[in-house]
Amino acid sequence: MDNGKRNGNIYTIVYAALMVVLVAALLTFASQLLKPRQVANMMAETQRSILRSVHLESQPYEKYISDTVAGPDQLPLFICTLDDGTRKYIIPLHGKGLWGPLWGYLALNDDFRTIYGAVFDHSSETPGLGAEIANPFFSEPFRGKSLYSGDEFVSISVLKQGHSQNNPHAVDGISGGTLTSRGVENMIRESLEPYLPFLRHYE
């Protein structure tokens, strides 16, 4: 094609319009085609996280977990019934990290005071620093910690590394990931607060 025609206004506008329509159609098609698989992946991921929070990794989800709601506000709650019949109550967590959202699941024993297990995940924390919250070495120490000091709700503090020994209400943070660690601390406190009346009621 000669250069003069290629630089004309009408040619340029038609070219741009056609390109946009074609690309939009292509992307819509791809997104529709891949969506079922993506949704399935996302659901499987959620179920895996919930199972991990009660230390039942790679067990069948339906066998152990049932979905329910708590209190008059219909807060989401998952109840896990272990093989020996004891029940664990799993509360979903949502919060903010340094770069983006954090989320996780906190499993409580049936005394509603002590933690049975926890998992955390994030969308964009710094690899090697804040992103380490997704690792078991960070979430494992939550097990056995207590949310209450006497009758007062104190949540769990995430402290500087090495400062949480013998503290029943704190775990070690990640050095170099202070803002993410603080995000986890705030997330636990803020996500649990709406559940407090419900937890009291059950005690």
Binding site: M1, N3, R6, N7, Y11, T12, Y15, A16, M19, V20, V23, L26, L27, A30, S31, L34, R37, Q38, N41, E45, W99, G100, S123, S124, T126, P127, G128, L129, S175, G176
Partner: protein
Amino acid sequence: MNKRIFLDPLFKNNPIPVLALGICSALAVTVKLEPAMVMALSVTLVTGFSSMILSLLRNTIPNRIRIIVQLVVVATLVILVDQVLKAFAWEISKQLSVFVGLIITNCIIMGRIEAFALYNKPFPSLVDGLANGLGYGIILIAVSVVRELLGSGTLMGYQVIPQQWYVANGGVYENNGLFILPPMALIILGLIVWVFNAKNAKRV
């Protein structure tokens, strides 16, 4: 001819140390080896195919919206890569989340389209794009091996430095936290640029 197009970007004209393109993401994704490798692969595919597609279109693109057309093609490919990873490689897509989107801003891609694909046939353009992606990948992997090994004591997530060497276990060794932070990536990259410049100076 095609062999030279392929080998040149790997060493003599490597996009990062010699052409100084794509440095930003080389600093961002090199804390660990595994994401660096997936990033290298994704960039290679996107540079290769965007160069090929734009080379096919090169005689039809209106001059005044040239850059926009390039951007649309690159962005489309990146979105497709992201969607396919989400559907078929969920774990990896989770690790790379933000970085996949950032491929669009990788200067190498637009640089090779502007400098090569718009003036060459589709097949050499594909080779040029793939080779530049690989050249980028080599540097990414080199930097991330140093950073993960000295910063975290691991490679691909596996512990390489023996546990008993660490101070915590009675040894004398400690991971160097500086390697996890971006400034150290810049220093390592500087050393690599030095090596490349010294080699290329000799050749001239």
